[in-house]
Amino acid sequence: MKHKKINLLLSFIKGNRRNYIIAILFMILATMTSLINPLIIKLAVDSVIDKQPVSLTGVFLSMFNNIGGRDVLINNLWILGCLLILISVFNGIFNFLSKKYIAIVSERTAKNMRNKLYDHIQYLSYSYHVKVDTGDLIQRCTSDLDKIRRFISQQLMEIIRALTLISTALAIMLSLNVNLSIVSFVVTPIIVFVAFKFFKFIKIKFKETDEAEGKMTTVLQENLNSMRIVRAFAKQDYETDKFNKASKKFKETDFVVSKLMAWYWGATDFICDVQLGAILILGTVWATKGLLTIGTLLAFMAYSHNMIWPIRNLGRVLADMGKASVSLNRISEIFDEIGEDIDLESGLTPKINGEISFDHVSFEYEEGKPVLNDVTFHIEKGQTIAILGGTGAGKTTLVNLLVRLFDVKSGAVTIDGINVKDINRKWLRKKIGIVLQEPFLFSRTIKENIAFSNYNATEEQIESACRVASIYNVIRHFDKGFDTMVGEKGVTLSGGQKQRVAIARTLLNNHSILIFDDSLSAVDVETDAYIRDQLKKNLHSTTTLIISHRISTLKQADKILVIEKGMITQQGTHYELIREQGLYKEVFDIQSSLQSDTTKGGETRE
C-alpha cells in the first residue's frame, strides 16, 4: 500500500528527477556556505583584531599568508568585509538556484498531477460520476494536491536542509571546540522531540476546532436556507442566540489551541535561550581560562542562533508530514477507481447505419436488484422509436447500455449486427447523439456551448441547428445574442431552454442514431411537436429513440416500447397498442378522455 503511494508520487515527478536532485544539491551547497561567515568573523575577531594565532589549515592558511597575513589585514579590514559579501553572494546564488529548480520541479509536478487527475476523472465510469460527491472530489483535486506540492517543494527540502545544517554545523563546531559543541547540542534532540510530540498532539485539538467551526457553519447555513421559516415563526432572536453559542464555542475551542501554541513557543524559546545562555556563560568562563577564543565563542553563538529556527521547525515538519500522506492517499483513491476504456484505440470503428438490436439483455447496477430483465427488441435503420415507462422502469438504462456508459452483463446489444462491446467507445458515442433530460451547460457563451463538440461548425450550421431546436429566436433576444454567457456570469436559462440548447448542441454533429432521454419534458406540447416535425424533415435517415410520456409524442413513432419494472411489456404502433389492454391504453385513455390538445405543462414556445 505504502509502496504503491510512493510509486504514484514518483510517477508525477517523473521527468523532473534530475532537476530535483540539482535542487537538493544546490540547497546543500547553500546551507553549507551559510555556515562559513561565522568562521570569517571568528578569523577577523581572533587573528586580526585580537592577536590570537591563526587557526587555519592547508589552502586557507596559505591564502591568509599570501594576502600578507595579519599585518596587511589589520590595515585593510575591508578585505574580510568583501569576503563576507562574496560568500553571501555565493550563498545567494546557490539559494536562488535551489529555489528556482525546486519551483520548476514542484510546479511541473503539480501541473502533471492536475492534468492526470482531470483526464482520469473524465474517463471514470458513469456510475462513479452518478454517486460522487463533487465538493469532496474538487477538494481532492485542489487543496489535497496543493499539500502534496508543498510537501515536495517545502517540507522535504526543509528536512534535508535541517539535517545538512545540523550535521555540518556539528562538524565545524566539533573542530573548533569539543566541549562547547556538546553544550550546544544538548537540547537539540529535546527540542525536536518536543516539537514533534506537540504538533502530533495538537492535531487532535485542531480537529476539535474544525468540528466546532463546522457546527457553527451548519447553524449559519441552516439559518440562511430556512430564512422564510425563521421569519415566519419570528425566531430571529432564538436563531441569533443559537448562532452566538456556536460561534462562542468555536472561539473557545480555538482558544485552547492558541493557549497551547503560546505555551509551546514560549517554552521552546526559553529552552533555546537557555542553550544560548549556556554557550555564552560556559564559553565566557572557558575563554577567561584561555580554553577558547572570543571569535570561537561568537561563532558558536552565531551557529546556535542560526539553528534554533530550523530545529524548532523540524519537529513541526515531521509532524505535518502526516497531512501530505493523507492527501496522497486521497488522491490515489481517485486513481484507484478504474476508468472506462483503458486503451481508447482498441475496438472496431465500423460505419454505423443505425439498426439496433437488444437480444435478451439483463442488467443490474447492484447485485440482486435487476433493472432490465430479458429485454429483446429490434429497430430498423431510420425508424423512430418511442419508449414509455415510469420512473425507475429502466428507460435510461437502455440508453446507457447502447452508448456503453455501462456494459451489458448478459445478453447482447448490437448495432448493424455488431456487438457494441466490440466497438470502440469513443467511436460509438460519436456516432450516437444523446440529449439528456437534465443537460449540463458550461459557463461559456451560448455559441461555444452549442459548438461544444464540433468546434469547426460554421455560423450557419449553428443557426440552423438552433432553428430546428426552436431556440434561435430566444437566443437572438438576448442582449449579446449568441455571445451571451450561460450560467452564473450570464443568463440563467430555464429547464426547457437548456433542453433546447442541448438539442441544438447534439444536432450539430451528424449522428446516425439520435436519443432523446425525456429531453423535451420541460418544453410545452406544441414546441415539442414542432421540434419533432423539424427533426423529421432534417434527419430522415437517422434512427431516433424518444423517451417520453406524452401520447402526442409517442403516437407518431414507428414503434412504441412500453417498459415496466425492467421488462418490455408491450411493443407496437400506436394503433396496435390502443387495441390491447395494458399500460399504454390506460395512459391513452386518461389523456384522451380529457382534451389533451389544450393541456399546458411546460413553457410556451418562443
Binding site: 583584531i49 568583501c82 563576507l84 559579501i85 553571501s88 553572494v89 550563498n91 545567494g92 536562488f96 535551489s98 529555489k99 528556482k100 519551483a103 510546479e107 492536475r114 482531470y118 473524465q122 463533487t134 474538487i138 451548519t218 449559519l220 439559518n223 430556512s226 422564510r228 421569519r231 415566519a232 415563526f233 419570528a234 430571529q236 432572536d237 432564538y238 441569533t240 468555536f250 472561539k251 480555538d254 482558544f255 501554541m261 514560549g266 535561550d273 545562555g277 555564552l280 565566557t284 568562563v285 577567561t288 572570543i294 415510469g390 452508448v403 458515442r429 444523446i434 439528456l436 458550461f442 463538440s453 447534439t506 390506460e586 395512459v587 389523456q591 380529457l594 382534451q595 393541456t599 405543462g601
Partner: protein, 604 residues
C-alpha cells in the same frame, strides 16, 4: 475571477479600516496588553546582544569571572521575561483575533436576521456564508498578526537604532546607509511579485472552475465525446498557472538572497568601520559583536514589511466583503411612529393575536431586478378564509404570499391587516402571527421535538403530542426508537419527504398562527402519506386565514376560494365547483393537472 482581479488592484480603503479599528478598539484592553508585551519583547531582544558584549568586555578581556553569578542571574531573568512575553504575545494576539472575529460574526448574523429578502435575492447563500466565516476569519487573523508584526518591527527598529547610536554613532551611520538600497529593492520586487500573484490567483480559480465543470458535466462530456479537447483546454490553464507560479517562486528566490546580501553588507560595514575603531581603542570587541548582532536584528523587520503589506491588501479585500454585509441597508423595519407607539418589539416578545383580515389595496410590486410582478392588485380576505392560488410559474403566486408575510413590502399601494396598514404596526406583530410551510420541507438538525417546538418554544410535551396528532405525525414518530427524541441529521435521518412535511405541519399547528401560508410541494408522495397530508392540512387551515400555493388538486379543493392568476392578475375566482362549471382557465389547468397525476400514478 473578475472580482478577485478588482480586489487586488484597489488602493487603501480608509473608510473600511476605520470600521475595522472600531471593532478592534472594542477589545482595547487586550490590544493594550498586546502592545505592552511587544514593547517588552523587542526591548529584551535588543538587550540580549548587550549581555554578550558585557560578558566579552568584562570577563573574557579581563580574564576573570568575578561576580559572574550576578550576570547569570540577570541573563536568566531576561530570558525568562522574554519567554513569558512571547507566551503573552501569542496568547493576546490570538485572543484579540478570536474576540474580534466573534464580534464581527455576531453582528453579521444579527444583520442577516434583519435584512429583507431583496438582499437574499441578490446574494447567494454560499457567498453569505463565506462572508460570515472565511472572510471574517481572514480579515481578523491577518489584522491581529499584522499588528503584532508591525508593532514588533517598529519597536525593534526603534530600540536597536537608539542602542546603536548610544554605542557608537559612526558605525551606526555606516550600517544605516544600507537601508535606502534595501527599501528600493523591496519595493521593486514586491510590486512584481504582487502582480504575478494576482495573475496566478486568476488561473487558480479558473482551474478550480474547470474541475468543477469537468466533474459536473462528466456525463455530458461522455455523450459528446469531448474528452480530448477538454484536456487540451485544461492544459492551457494549468500551463499558464504553472508559469505564473514558477515566476513568483523565481522572483522571491531572487529577492531574498539580495535582501540578505544587503544585510550582510551592513554587517561587513560594521565589521570594517568597527574593526578599525577596535585598534584605535575607541570601541571594545564586545561592542563590535553587539553591532554584528544588531545588524541582523535590524534588517529582519524591514525584510518583512513587504509581506505584511501584501497580507494587509488581502485583508482589505476580505474586509470589504464583510463590511458590505455589515453595512447593508435594512429596508423592512419599524418606522419611527411605530417605535414611538409600540416601543422596540423583538422576535422573542409575545405579540398580540391578530384576527387575520387581510386586504391588498391597489398593490403594485416590482422586484429589484426590474420586472413588475403585480400591478394595481386588489384582494380582500376575511378572517378564517382559505385561499388557494393557482397559476403558472411567474404569474405572481409567490409574490402575493411574500407580500402578505411582509417578506417584501408593496412598491405602491398598501396591505391592511385587521384594517390597519401593516407598515403601521410592528413587523413582529405580523410575523409573530404567521405559520409557514415551504414547498420543500425545511427541518433543522436536532430532534423531532426540537423541530416541532420551533413553532412555540414554550410548548409542553402534551401540546407537542397534540399538535403531532393533529398533523397525523404522532404515529410514525412513535415508531422511532427514541420517539420525539429521534435525531434529524443533515441527510434527513430516515424520514421520507412526506413525513418531513407532516412534521412541518405540526410545527405550524403548535405556533397557533392567525395567518397560515402553505407553499405546496409538487413532489409526489405515496397515496397513504398523501391522504395524511390532506387531513393534516385540513386541520391546520381550520379557523385560520390561509394562503395556499397549491399544486395538488386535493389541496385546491379544500380551499374556500380559488384565485387563478395570470401575469399578476386574477383572471378567475370562485369555488372549485363554480370554476369547473365555468370551463375556463381553471378547468384547463385542472384537467391537465389531473392528467399528469393520474398518469404518474399509473406509470409508477
Amino acid at each position: 475571477m473578475n472580482e478577485e482581479n478588482q480586489e487586488y488592484n484597489k488602493s487603501f480603503d480608509k473608510e473600511m479600516w476605520k470600521k475595522v479599528i472600531k471593532y478592534i478598539l472594542r477589545h482595547w484592553k487586550v490590544l493594550l496588553l498586546l502592545i505592552s508585551s511587544l514593547v517588552i519583547l523587542s526591548g529584551l531582544e535588543s538587550v540580549t546582544p548587550l549581555l554578550t558584549r558585557y560578558a566579552i568586555d568584562n570577563y573574557i578581556e579581563s580574564g576573570s569571572t568575578d561576580n559572574m553569578e550576578w550576570f547569570i542571574a540577570i541573563y536568566f531573568l531576561v530570558i525568562l521575561i522574554k519567554a513569558s512575553s512571547i507566551f503573552a504575545l501569542i496568547y493576546l494576539a490570538e485572543k484579540l483575533f478570536l474576540e474580534v472575529s466573534h464580534s464581527i460574526r455576531k453582528d453579521a448574523f444579527e444583520k442577516l436576521q434583519k435584512l429583507s429578502f431583496t438582499y437574499y435575492d441578490n446574494n447567494t447563500v454560499g457567498s453569505l456564508i463565506a462572508r460570515v466565516t472565511s472572510d471574517t476569519w481572514r480579515l481578523t487573523g491577518i489584522i491581529s498578526w499584522g499588528l503584532v508584526d508591525l508593532f514588533w518591527g517598529f519597536f525593534t527598529i526603534l530600540t536597536v537604532t537608539t542602542l546603536m547610536f548610544f554605542l557608537n554613532v559612526k558605525i551606526t551611520l555606516a550600517v544605516l546607509g544600507v537601508i535606502p538600497l534595501l527599501l528600493l529593492v523591496s519595493v521593486y520586487f514586491q510590486k512584481k511579485i504582487l502582480k504575478s500573484t494576482r495573475e496566478s490567483r486568476k488561473y487558480n480559480s479558473a482551474i478550480t472552475a474547470s474541475f468543477n465543470e469537468g466533474i459536473q458535466g462528466a456525463t455530458t462530456t461522455k455523450t459528446l465525446v469531448r474528452e480530448k479537447k477538454n484536456l487540451e483546454e485544461f492544459d492551457i490553464k494549468t500551463e499558464k498557472f504553472k508559469s505564473a507560479a514558477i515566476k513568483i517562486a523565481v522572483l522571491s528566490a531572487l529577492f531574498f538572497p539580495i535582501v540578505s546580501a544587503l544585510g550582510i553588507l551592513g554587517t561587513s560595514l560594521a565589521l570594517w568601520t568597527g574593526g578599525v575603531m577596535v585598534f584605535g581603542g575607541i570601541v571594545t570587541i564586545g561592542t563590535l559583536s553587539a553591532f554584528i548582532s544588531y545588524t541582523q536584528l535590524f534588517f529582519f523587520p524591514i525584510n518583512d514589511l513587504a509581506r505584511i503589506f501584501a497580507n494587509f491588501q488581502m485583508a482589505q479585500a476580505a474586509g470589504e466583503r464583510v463590511f458590505t454585509l455589515l453595512d447593508a441597508n435594512v429596508d423592512i423595519f419599524d418606522h419611527d411612529e411605530v417605535l414611538k407607539q409600540y416601543g422596540l418589539v423583538k422576535a422573542s416578545d409575545n405579540v398580540p393575536k391578530l384576527q387575520g383580515n387581510i386586504e391588498f389595496r391597489n398593490v403594485s410590486f416590482t422586484y429589484t431586478k426590474g420586472e413588475q410582478v403585480l400591478n394595481n392588485f386588489n384582494l380582500k380576505v376575511e378572517r378564517g378564509q382559505s385561499i388557494a392560488i393557482v397559476g403558472e410559474t411567474g404569474s405572481g403566486k409567490t409574490t402575493i404570499v411574500n407580500l402578505a408575510c411582509r417578506f417584501y413590502q408593496p412598491t405602491s399601494g398598501e396591505i391592511l391587516i385587521d384594517g390597519i396598514n401593516y407598515q403601521d404596526i410592528p413587523l413582529m406583530h405580523v410575523q409573530g402571527n404567521l405559520g409557514y410551510m415551504l414547498q420543500t420541507p425545511h427541518l433543522f438538525s436536532g430532534t423531532i421535538k426540537d423541530n416541532i417546538t420551533y413553532g412555540n418554544l414554550q410548548a409542553t410535551q402534551e401540546e407537542i403530542e397534540h399538535a403531532a396528532k393533529l398533523a397525523e405525525a404522532h404515529d410514525f414518530i412513535m415508531n422511532f426508537e427514541k420517539g420525539y427524541g429521534h435525531t434529524i441529521s443533515k441527510g434527513g435521518g430516515g424520514l421520507s419527504t412526506g413525513q418531513k412535511q407532516l412534521i412541518c405541519i405540526a410545527r405550524a399547528i403548535i405556533a397557533n398562527p392567525s395567518i397560515f401560508i402553505l407553499d405546496e410541494a409538487t413532489s409526489s408522495v405515496d397515496t397513504h402519506t398523501e391522504k395524511a397530508i390532506q387531513l393534516a392540512i385540513g386541520q391546520v387551515i381550520k379557523g385560520r386565514t390561509s394562503f395556499i400555493i397549491a399544486h395538488r388538486l386535493s389541496t385546491i379543493r379544500q380551499a374556500d376560494r380559488i384565485l387563478v392568476l395570470d401575469k399578476g392578475n386574477v383572471i378567475e375566482e370562485g369555488t372549485h365547483n363554480e370554476l369547473i362549471a365555468n370551463e375556463g382557465h381553471y378547468y384547463k389547468l385542472y384537467t391537465s393537472q389531473f392528467l399528469e397525476e393520474q398518469e404518474l400514478e399509473i406509470l409508477n
